[in-house]
């Protein structure tokens, strides 16, 4: 549950989001200060993601923004999980920015969306992470408890 600290900050973020959002990012729902949904799409013509829209789920803890939010892609009939060497087919994203080490409290929902946009834009590999199948089958951990090894920060 979000605490007052998180609530205050999220309230301000939401006000700003209602005002304006960068192209390719849309707010789907933000009914409370615990879980938000946003849609993103890439802005260039990368054939891997052309004409696709992806759904993101944000979960905020009481420690937000000191702690990073939990961000995953969710799969719906018209919202696939983007193919990317750092995105597992269950929607879990391996990005240092979302881990405790890479996170900075200055980041926000909008900046995360933009980082994910550029993570997709910059990718040309039509593949899932190594061991995707095993991970998706075996993983019961929440994304924040997984110790990703950020071996390759360029992708």
């Amino acid at each position: 549950m979000a605490g007052t600290f998180a609530t205050k900050r999220l309230g301000k973020e939401l006000a700003k989001i209602h005002e304006s959002l960068p192209p390719g990012i849309e707010l789907v729902s933000a009914d409370n200060f615990e879980e938000w949904f946003l849609d993103i799409r890439v802005l260039d013509s990368n054939p891997l993601y052309l004409n696709q829209i992806y759904r993101l789920k944000f979960k905020f803890s009481a420690q937000y923004p000191i702690e990073p939010p939990e961000v995953v892609f969710v799969k719906l009939a018209d919202r696939p999980i983007p193919i990317h060497p750092h995105i597992y087919s269950n929607g879990i994203i391996c990005l240092d920015l979302l881990g405790q080490q890479g996170w900075s409290p200055v980041q926000n929902v909008q900046s995360i969306c933009m980082s994910l946009q550029s993570m997709l834009t910059g990718n040309s590999k039509n593949e899932r992470p190594a061991g995707d199948e095993d991970f998706v089958r075996g993983n019961r951990l929440r994304p924040k408890d997984i110790n990703f090894y950020y071996h390759d920060n360029d992708v």
Partner: protein, 529 residues
């Protein structure tokens, strides 16, 4: 309520110096060394470097919390003076260089700005850290912009409100256990927060934890320092044994709290077995000792297919469920050869039976070999545990003895010495069996086994005397016997350890397993000088 662990550290409580005594002569007077404080003895160990040490002895020093603090402060002050930077910055630089002062100074002289940058410091000169109220300021973390909001920035100038900074630091220190490398909250800024700024921002309780964590990094950053693993002990031990030397030496150190442990792997003293064998042994024991025990006691293998079979009732006519082989449980021979003597095997030797038993015997040999060593290992472990109770009773016994025989306190101390000797010797014996399990036979193993036997006999007979009722203990003759046996046990232990350690250092043992860590090199001279 005592755990085994804290028992082991209590065994040789207070002033027991038996195991560390570099002096090989363990005759009577050593047992009465009670007024000796441990510290001088340990300091001596370092000082007498040139003197002949026992082969199993390693030089080490114990540092108490204030020593650790002082060492850090000394280094920080030195760098502070030489490089003319603030103490807080000196501390950050030193941590960045893992307390290698020489390298720090050299690198800093060569290229100060790169060094500062890499360590998370800024070249900018600024006054002492302070909280400020800046008109029109808006905090990037909480988006607060009310008037009079107090804010703080490190030298990098990334400014956040005090409340956010506090939240951020509390999260880092309390939840993540971070101290030495807490960076500015700004994205991608690697400027590290210094102790002075931190003290300004957080509560006293958090500051205390922060400094504790910082102290911890000092010990953890240095390969030559390790924390004493005993519960609640705050000392650290310094020892110069390198990781690569661990196949040639078993670096047992003894903390001021009297806990004896291996500097290589932090486990309880496991002389004479080297760390790697200990690791293998413990793994093996955890893997299959219990199962193997049970299998050995309760099952036989089908003479044809080798399936393990448990006979849970019924007659001797066995039909293997797997391969349908029919055999006799008693003699393991073919059932068909039993003719009419069904259900009671009284045959002497038939060929098929002998062969089957031979094959079975072979498959059991390796298991039996393991069980031989395991049982002895476990027995000493168990006895040591039983002696633990005895040890606790010893003090009572000593009091009782003083009352009944009119002996003085000092005169009954021999019981305490005997109890300590029993503990230490059993600990050693225990590990000699793990060691022997991995030892390949050569002409030295016999000497080792003789030494082992001598020690074992001595320990068992001391153990027996020790259990005598109090009335008997008052007898002067028994007292002298116990004292003699105590010193004999200690002497035998030292002989065994010395011999084993010497051969280990000289690379004279051959093992039937490969060491996982690479050996120090052909001569192995690195282990000892």
């Amino acid at each position: 309520m005592d755990t085994d662990d804290d028992f082991m550290s209590n065994v040789s409580s207070e002033e027991d110096m038996l195991p560390d005594d570099s002096d090989n002569d363990m005759s009577g007077d050593d047992d009465f060394d009670f007024d000796d404080e441990p510290d001088p003895d340990i300091d001596i160990q370092k000082d007498i470097g040139q003197q002949k040490r026992a082969a199993y002895d390693v030089p080490f020093t114990v540092h108490q919390p204030q020593d650790i603090q002082r060492q850090q402060d000394d280094l920080i002050n030195e760098v502070n003076m030489i490089l003319n930077i603030s103490k807080e910055e000196a501390a950050i630089l030193l941590r960045h260089f893992r307390w290698n002062k020489e390298r720090l100074i050299e690198d800093y002289m060569d290229r100060p700005s790169q060094v500062l940058d890499a360590a998370g410091l800024s070249e900018k000169i600024s006054g002492p850290p302070k909280l400020q109220v800046i008109p029109g300021f808006c905090c990037d973390i909480c988006c607060e912009e009310e008037d009079g909001l107090e804010s703080f920035a490190l030298k990098c100038g990334h400014r956040y409100c005090v409340d956010c900074y506090r939240h951020y630091l509390a999260q880092k220190i309390r939840e993540e256990g971070e101290a030495a490398r807490i960076q500015c909250p700004s994205d991608g800024c690697n400027i590290i927060i210094d102790a002075k700024s931190l003290d300004l921002l957080v509560t006293a309780e958090l500051t205390e934890r922060y400094h504790k964590l910082l102290n911890r990094t000092f010990v953890e950053d240095k390969d030559t320092l390790k924390w004493c693993p005993a519960p609640d002990c705050q000392n650290a031990v310094e020892c110069n044994i390198k990781k690569k030397d661990l196949n040639r030496i078993v670096p047992t150190v003894s903390c001021l709290c009297s806990h004896r442990f291996c500097f290589g792997c932090i486990l309880n003293d496991h002389q004479p077995a080297p760390c790697d064998l200990v690791k293998k042994w413990l793994k093996k024991c955890a893997d299959d000792s219990e199962t193997a025990n049970w299998i050995s006691a309760n099952t036989k293998e089908c003479p044809k297919c080798g399936s393990t079979i448990e006979k849970n009732g019924g007659c001797n006519h066995m039909t293997c469920r797997k391969c349908k082989h029919e055999f006799c449980w008693m003699c393991m021979g073919l059932w068909s050869e039993h003719g009419t003597s069904w259900y009671s095997c009284n045959r002497f030797e038939e060929k098929s039976g002998t062969e089957a038993r031979d094959a079975q015997a072979k498959s059991r040999v390796s298991l039996e070999r393991y069980l031989h060593y395991y049982n002895r290992y476990a027995n000493h472990e168990q006895s040591a545990r039983l002696d633990k109770d005895l040890f606790h009773k010893t003090e009572k016994k000593m009091v009782q003895l003083q009352k009944e025989s009119g002996m003085s306190w000092i005169e009954v101390q021999y019981l305490s010495s005997a109890s300590k000797a029993l503990q230490t010797c059993r600990q050693t014996l225990m590990w000699t069996y793990a060691f022997a399990f991995y030892l390949a036979r050569n002409n030295l193993t016999e000497i080792f086994e003789d030494n082992q036997k001598d020690l074992e006999l001595a320990v068992e007979s001391l153990s027996e005397m020790f259990e005598k009722p109090v009335q008997d203990l008052a007898d002067q003759k028994l007292k002298v016997d116990i004292m003699d046996k105590t010193s004999y046990c200690n002497k035998r232990r030292i002989i065994l350890l010395d011999d084993t350690a010497q051969n280990l250092a000289d690379g004279k043992w051959t093992f039937n397993v490969e060491f996982s860590t690479p050996s120090a090199g052909p001569s192995g001279s690195g282990a000892r000088k």
